[in-house]
């Protein structure tokens, strides 16, 4: 399950009286958390011969990102043709898509880095009844058991479960240097791979985004001379009241 988001360096602006996100000049990329998941999926595909599919709920404009995923090595892509309105309607589409499939492992990211919902994958789990682990930073197979490492406050927890399984993946799932970029051969092959467009099912939004604002601007920094750290301590104690 792949989410497509503005590049992390994007300047965020709004139009139409601050009611809509301004897409002008925005470069869209694969959600970074999903990139770790995709790489993990590629590794599993390579070691087991599994078939790898990718599904995205989104407009045609994001197809280049899906072609990129095919170029990296996915076998088939599905695009559910809808502009996602909220986590709930997106999850309804994905749960409906999964209804007549029998995937062993479904990898999502723990969070999309645009609306920071941290929601879609968990909602899909509740809607489909799939076993679900969130914030996954490790996944290992031992026979028919799956060892899943999830991040918890101040550490990690190792869980044991089995397939089929839905995970919300993140950093740690694979190493940074294992992330992949498409090569020429992959790009050529991707052109011939199927990208199926599926019409959305009816669903009413649970949440509407009415308007946006920027967080209040910071006032200018107070610089303290490096030879006058007493002043810094005074500011932290008396002004900020943090020490």
């Amino acid at each position: 399950m792949l989410s497509v988001v503005p590049d992390t360096t994007s300047k965020i602006n709004f139009t139409d009286d601050n009611t809509r996100f301004d897409k002008t000049g925005i470069q869209y990329v694969m959600n970074p958390h999903d990139e770790f998941g995709l790489t993990k999926a590629m590794q599993i595909k390579e070691s087991t011969g599994a078939e790898l599919h990718v599904v995205h709920v989104g407009p045609q404009a994001f197809e280049p990102v899906m072609r990129k995923v095919l170029a990296i090595g996915a076998d088939k892509a599905f695009r559910i043709d809808m502009e996602p309105g909220d986590s709930y309607t997106t999850a309804v589409q994905l749960a409906n898509f999964l209804k007549d499939k029998d995937y062993d492992l479904i990898i999502a990211g723990k969070e999309s880095l645009d609306y920071n919902g941290n929601a879609v994958h968990g909602l899909v789990a509740a809607m489909t009844g799939l076993r679900f682990v969130n914030a996954v930073m490790g996944l290992d197979f031992e026979g028919d058991k799956v060892k899943v490492t999830r991040e918890i406050e101040g550490g990690k927890e190792i869980l044991e479960t089995r397939l089929p399984l839905l995970i919300g993946g993140q950093k740690g799932l694979v190493k940074e240097e294992e992330l992949r970029i498409p090569n020429m051969r992959g790009i050529m092959m991707a052109r011939k791979k199927p990208l199926e467009v599926i019409p959305p099912v009816e669903a009413t939004q649970a949440v509407e985004f009415l308007r946006y604002e920027k967080p209040p601007a910071k006032s200018a920094v107070k610089l303290v001379d490096k030879d006058n750290l007493d002043e810094l301590i005074d500011l932290l104690h008396n002004e900020a009241k943090v020490i």
Binding site: V120, N134, I158, L210, V221, A240
Partner: protein, 321 residues
């Protein structure tokens, strides 16, 4: 309005997240409404009365002794039905973010995360949430009868509001099969250190520190301040520090009272994870470092000179106060 909160605990004591949820819930419930907390093995439920919780439902079934997301979500669902709660609150913690969407799905309720304000209206419910990695705040309207809200950490704060509370034990009906589906094997936690998630002060360092051997002074500074340690992404990627310390857009999002950034340039992805901090202090050798634009306090200087001096001064200050 009747409200239910998922009250997480630390060795039986309600943790800070639970108290913040209680504070928010009390304000949202108003005078006519009730605030119920569902806890698992709480030993001092009365700690929550101080923050406005009228009733604590305490689960003492041993099967719930270890966190299990689906089992907890089912328990919360049953508690919500029992108390007629229209809103259920979960915290921005590993367990809260795991249970939240499951519960939203089970209740057929809207699940709204990153909530930073009380609703400006309750019918319909309209409230603010952070979006675009803290680069914007969105006002959203909830169109379902019920809602599960995930409150952004340190966004509402702790507000004492003592009430005459009571506690009763609660026995959720959850099949053994749910517990067997996903079992906890073990937990690995760094002991004796302040966890990043609960820290009031965070001391964070970046590539400017040159190498892992130089972290001694960072840890010492953290010790003096009772702070947690964190780092920038490349520092974790190079293995200088554990990945659990990586903060930023793709790492942990933190919102302490004071965030101290040492030898970190202040890239947009780093800022996205830390700019909800109440106060930011930057120590950097380069006066042009972008982090100074996001800082409240700054020292331009060599960390290897400034940090040891700062530690000495702080020790003297602490000795007096």
């Amino acid at each position: 309005m009747n409200i239910l909160i998922f009250a997480e605990n630390n060795q039986g004591k309600p943790n800070k997240t639970a108290k913040e949820l209680a504070s928010y819930a009390r304000a949202l419930a108003g005078d006519g409404g009730s605030v119920t907390a569902l806890g698992f093995g709480l030993q001092s439920p009365e700690d929550l009365y101080a923050y406005g919780v009228d009733k604590v439902l305490n689960v003492d079934d041993a099967r719930f002794g270890t966190f299990n997301a689906m089992a907890y979500a089912l328990a919360l669902q049953q508690a919500a039905e029992k108390t007629g709660a229209g809103v259920v609150l979960t915290g921005q913690s590993a367990d809260g973010q795991y249970v939240g969407p499951l519960l939203g799905g089970l209740l057929g309720a809207a699940y709204v995360t990153q909530v930073v304000s009380l609703p400006e209206s309750t019918e319909p419910m309209v409230l603010k949430r952070k979006s675009f990695s803290n680069k914007a705040i969105a006002t959203v309207k909830i169109d379902t009868d019920k809602a599960v809200l995930n409150l952004a950490k340190n966004s509402y704060g702790l507000h004492e509001n003592p009430v005459d509370g009571s506690t009763e034990s609660f026995a959720p009906q959850v099949d053994d099969a749910v517990f067997d589906d996903i079992r906890s094997v073990r937990v690995e936690k760094a002991t004796g250190k302040v966890p990043l998630s609960d820290a009031e002060i965070i001391v964070s360092a970046g590539r400017g520190l040159k190498g892992p051997e130089n972290w001694g002074m960072i840890e010492e500074l953290a010790d003096v301040l009772g702070a947690a340690t964190a780092c920038s992404k490349p520092v974790a990627d190079m293995g200088w520090r554990p990945h659990t310390e990586h903060v930023g857009q793709t790492g942990k999002q933190v919102a302490p009272n004071l965030y101290i950034a040492i030898g970190i340039s202040g890239a947009i992805q780093h800022l996205a994870g830390v700019n909800s901090s109440k106060h930011i202090l930057v120590i950097n050798i380069d006066p042009e470092a972008p982090f100074f634009k996001a800082a409240d306090y700054g020292v331009v200087g060599d960390a290897f000179e400034v940090v040891p001096k700062f530690i000495e001064k702080l020790k003297a200050f602490k000795a007096e106060h």
